[in-house]
Amino acid sequence: MLLGVTLLTFVLTRVLPGSPIDQIAGPMASQAQRQALLVHYGLDRPLWAQYVAYLRGLAQGDLGTSFVTSRPVAADLAAFFPATMELTTVAMLLAVLLGVPLGVWGAVRQGSWVDHVTRVLAVAGVALPVFWVSLVLIYLCFYRWHLVPPPMGRLGALVTPPPTVTGFLLIDSALARDWAALGDAARQLILPVAVLAFAAVAPLARIARTSMLDVLATPYIRATRSLGVPWRSVVWTYALRNAMLPVLTMVAIVYGFLLGGSVLVETLFAWPGMGRYAFNAISGNDYPAVQGFILYATVVYLVIFVLVDLVSALLDPRVQT
């Protein structure tokens, strides 16, 4: 499986048009210099040999060296990873905390105004393009109404970052008791998180609603009610547990969507994360960086799926691990 993934990424990036050598060497380089660079980067060897070399490097955790920054891709990605993770994780948490209760409420009180609002939100969240929503919010909240700081990255220009422990600014500044930095980091997070969360709430609310509706119609919920358990307990203590299983799977899928969306959002908010790194890499024909990013993102995605599987197994005793 992983082999297939690496193969595909490799093939894709090698097919990138334009030669990176032109980028690195610049227009003034002589033929001899170009040749030397080709050899240096191993680009003169046949493709399959390059692939094998790449795999060998992978086994040692080496993702190659960026053509643009001349630093190991693995190091670059590791440096930018926490920024993206903080963004997507906070957005995901917000989406779950908002979306699931909304979906459940919509299922329990079908036809109420909450139900209608949730359905409209769900349709909107799925249909509105992430990059457009970002722009609209930046325009309104920053430019027009001056509600949020300028979209210039994770911290305001004049704020010093706290010492790095986890790479998550929110956690690090809390640990260092640097409340000014914490507040600033939080303020910078508001808009990009809002955009991503809005997109993520939609599918989560939907699946929560559908799942809850299905569960409420089952014979076992009917049996629970027949024993005189009050409706509130039926929904929140019993049905919720049953309904959460499909929601969890959707969380994993939405995470993948957020990872993709982070490319768009990070570029617009000047967020120093993996997404922006990838964007720059693609524009610069930086093979190893692009490859590295795709692999990294995919591995993160797979890890999340595994985590979700584990949690599902905990919740549902029928699943055999």
Partner: protein, 320 residues
């Protein structure tokens, strides 16, 4: 104890409102076992669910009176009705394993119900739960408490359900086909269990079944249902001695007899789909006694003898 009068239930479908129960009326006397007999689709389960107010859209109660010890159940607020469920009336269902929540161990639900209805502490509830499981005939109550429904057999699940119902100390028990989904040997055990418990606790039971043998064993009174109506009511003894309605007689003839009897004869035709209920008496297309007037007018209730009523125009011509 429990009075049902003129219960009408209908389904709201794409093709309009389809009636399912047409004025069902019966009473349960305290401490007795009453059977509600009929083939699948005649509305027996629907009646029980309507009494418990567990119907979900598109089904809806349109008319009727349901009273528990004189108290009107139909117009109670949901919170009040939840209190009646369990302590007033409890129900056991047809598919035991499907009726237990798969992601909770048996202990959770049992303990919750015990604490809810009897206000026991957690420890006392656990102990009582195990005692109940033992009472319904489970060999290793402690193991069952920890188990999940998918780890238990059908018979064990049914016993657990009975334990759950008993935990509420109900006055009335609605048993919807409690043995149908089980193996034959297990069926006998469950029947024994139910009989014993009913006698011991003086429960008022409504036994819903299509099995006449079960009725003969357990029931004091019987009501026969067809197409959403009660077509005959009598004591069990009277019903078996002198079945009046052609449908009841058809059901009796369809049983496998013991020793030297003729082969069972089925009733020709099939139970009509809800939306295609025949006019007048719904049984007339399949009825050997059908005559003029049967297709036009639904028969009213007539007395065969004291305590024995039937709804048929021509029942006399069939009865010896």
């Amino acid at each position: 104890m429990l009075d049902v009068r003129g219960l009408r239930v209908a389904f709201h479908t794409r093709r309009g409102v389809v009636p399912a129960l047409h004025g069902v009326t019966f009473s349960l006397a305290p401490g007795t076992v009453t059977g509600l007999v009929g083939e699948s689709g005649c509305g027996k389960t629907l009646t029980a669910l309507a009494i418990m107010r567990l119907l979900r859209p598109p089904a809806e109660i349109q008319e009727g009176d349901v009273r528990l010890e004189g108290r009107d159940l139909r117009f109670l607020r949901e919170r009040e009705m939840a209190r009646v469920r369990g302590e007033g009336i409890a129900m056991i269902f047809q598919q035991p394993r499907a009726s237990l929540n798969p992601v909770f161990p048996v202990a959770s639900q049992l303990v919750h119900v015990l604490r809810l209805h009897r206000r026991l502490s957690r420890g006392a509830a656990r102990a009582e739960g195990e005692a109940l499981l033992a009472r319904v005939g489970l060999a290793r109550p402690d193991a069952v408490m920890r188990a999940y429904p998918h780890q238990l057999s059908g018979g064990m699940c049914q016993r657990v359900m009975i334990a759950l119902a008993l935990a509420c100390r109900p006055r009335v028990l609605l048993a919807d086909e409690p043995t149908t989904a089980l193996d034959v040997t297990v069926q006998l055990q469950i029947v024994e269990l139910l009989r014993g418990l009913q006698r011991e606790l003086g429960l008022t039971v409504l036994l819903i079944t299509h099995d006449l043998g079960l009725v003969a064993e357990m029931c004091d009174h019987v009501h026969v249902m067809y197409a959403g109506r009660i077509v005959e009511s009598a004591t069990a003894a009277a019903l078996f001695r002198r079945p009046a309605h052609p449908y009841t007689r058809g059901l009796m003839a369809a049983r496998v007899g013991t020793g030297g009897r003729a082969l069972p004869t089925g009733i020709p035709g099939r139970v009509p789909a809800l939306a295609e209920t025949p006019s007048g008496c719904p049984f007339h297309p399949r009825c050997p006694l059908a005559g003029p007037g049967c297709a036009e007018q639904d028969p009213g209730s007539e007395a065969v003898e004291a305590g024995h009523a039937v709804r048929c125009h021509y029942w006399r011509s069939g009865v010896a």
